[in-house]
């Protein structure tokens, strides 16, 4: 090099050249800024200086080869804008995101050409994310007709069609080991005012960063492979920076949640729209605490139902008893009345029978006496004495009573016996008598 100088070739120092470039660039780009759409790569962040270093690239939409690339940085106000962007989008400023940034062009004698990030548009990225989310949702429906479908604005999945058990007690929770969300969930669950007991198994995994989706998926599979009959699986996330929940918009996680055979409750803790995991899950809640409250409320409604049943059983039982008691009182009174009346009736009958009997006996005896008396008077009437008193006489021949005159002739001796006197007589004449005088 010294040789070249000695030869007297005209030259300038590099700093002079860079100064010239600086001047040209400054002249061309001073006070200008541009809104540029690009992908971020090679990103790094320095905590001490609060500065982002990255590269912006543009890829060919078909071949994906890089067609433009430039270094960029953000510090001071640019870093503040990035923080605001991250808050609003839930998207970390990091590699492989497509952004709309406002940049100015700078050339530094040492660091060279680079873009200074002045601003970043969250709406653009939100739109991108939403588009991406919608296309994943669409793919989920199209590729998994067996367990995901869309009805109106609602997604019907195998998981959200599962029926929750009446009581939820055996719980698997998927959360990060250090997650405040997991703590909130447990705390709320264990301090429930009703004294409900729970068995909780922890499945720890990173729940942030899209790159951890595969690990998260493995945890879901691990819950399944445990063979334990969990009542419900809870996915929580929360606490710390409220950024980057893109993992829950992941296709594979959405698919796994949709087809999972145990009801999944999400408590992911986000401000934005529901994530895809939320849409696929059985029940989504806003925060881990709300997820725990949901479970407690579910159990409470079961208990309330039980208490209500118990109350109704008691009331019905009391009503039934009371009715039976009334019936019994009535039956008792009837029994008393009937018993008394039956007794009375029988006493009456017996007494009637008894007095009738006496009358019958007297009548009987009187009748019998009457018969005897009748016979007596008949006999008296037929006695010869009474007949003779009425003017009849007995005719005897010797010792024989004569009832016809066959044996008598004129001159026969006869005795005529009257009531009190006896006459000896001789038959003078015998003649026929027609007897009509005495034939009554």
């Amino acid at each position: 090099m010294t040789g070249s100088v000695e030869k007297g070739v005209k030259h300038i120092r590099l700093s002079e050249l860079n100064q010239k470039i600086t001047t040209v660039i400054f002249g061309a780009f001073n006070n200008l800024s541009f809104w540029v759409v690009a992908d971020v790569t090679s990103h790094s962040f320095r905590d001490q200086t609060g500065s982002h270093n990255f590269e912006l690239v543009e890829k060919d939409p078909v071949s994906h080869t890089i067609v433009a690339k430039i270094r960029g940085k953000a510090w001071g106000n640019g870093t503040l804008r990035i923080e605001a962007f991250e808050r609003q989008t839930g998207q970390k400023f990091t590699n492989n995101i497509n952004v709309l940034v406002n940049v100015s062009v700078e050339f530094h004698p040492v660091y060279g050409l680079q873009l200074n990030l002045n601003d970043i548009d969250p709406a653009f990225t939100l739109g991108m994310l939403e588009q991406q989310r919608l296309s994943i949702l669409e793919a989920l429906v199209i590729k998994n007709p067996g367990f995901i479908s869309k009805v109106g604005e609602r997604f019907i999945t195998r998981n959200n069609q599962l029926k929750l058990k009446a009581v939820l007690q055996k719980i698997a929770i998927i959360s990060s080991k250090t997650s405040a969300g997991g703590e909130d969930f447990l705390h709320t669950l264990e301090n429930n005012p009703f004294g409900y007991k729970f068995t909780v198994d922890h499945y720890h995994t990173a729940v942030q960063g899209e790159n951890n989706a595969e690990q998260f998926l493995q945890k879901i599979i691990e819950v399944f492979n445990s063979g334990k009959e969990y009542d419900v699986v809870v996915i929580t996330r929360g606490g710390g920076a409220q950024t980057d929940f893109l993992m829950f918009d992941n296709y594979n996680i959405g698919r796994a949640v949709a087809r999972f055979p145990i009801p999944i409750i999400t408590g992911i803790g986000h401000q934005r729209n529901e994530t895809i995991a939320d849409l696929m899950a059985h029940t989504q809640t806003k925060t881990p605490t709300k997820a725990a409250e949901f479970i407690i409320a579910h159990n409470k409604s079961y208990e309330d139902g039980m208490i209500d049943l118990q109350r109704r059983i008691i009331i019905r039982t009391q009503q039934r008893l009371s009715r039976s008691q009334h019936e019994l009182v009535e039956i008792r009174q009837n029994t008393i009345d009937t018993a008394r009346s039956v007794l009375f009736h029988h006493q009456k009958m017996l007494s009637n029978r008894s007095s009738n009997l006496q009358i019958f006996i007297q009548q009987y005896l009187k009748n019998k006496k009457g018969y005897v008396a009748h016979l007596v008077s008949m006999i008296k009437l037929m006695a010869p004495d009474s007949i003779m008193k009425r003017g009849f006489a007995i005719v005897k021949s010797g010792d024989k009573v004569i009832s016809n005159a066959n044996d008598l002739e004129a001159g026969s001796k006869i005795d005529i016996i009257l009531s009190g006197d006896k006459i000896n007589a001789t038959v003078n004449q015998k003649m026929k008598n027609d007897g009509s005088e005495f034939n009554i």
Partner: protein, 67 residues
């Protein structure tokens, strides 16, 4: 008196005797015996009714006490 006699059979027999006497189908030779039997049956039935009444009253007062 027959040990197995019930109110019903006693009453039926009593009725039978009363009927026999009423229609005089009983002979005088048996009358005294029948009347004696009737008197026994009446006594039996009265005793039965009385004791039943006492028992019923006792039960009823027990029922009322329990209420």
């Amino acid at each position: 008196m027959d040990q197995n006699l019930t109110y019903e059979t006693a009453y039926a027999e009593l009725t039978q005797i009363a009927r026999e006497i009423e229609d005089e189908s009983v002979s005088v030779d048996l009358l005294a015996e029948k009347v004696k039997r009737a008197s026994e049956l009446i006594a039996f039935c009265q005793k039965k009714l009385k004791s039943t009444e006492n028992e019923v009253n006792k039960i009823i007062s027990q029922m009322e006490k329990n209420n």
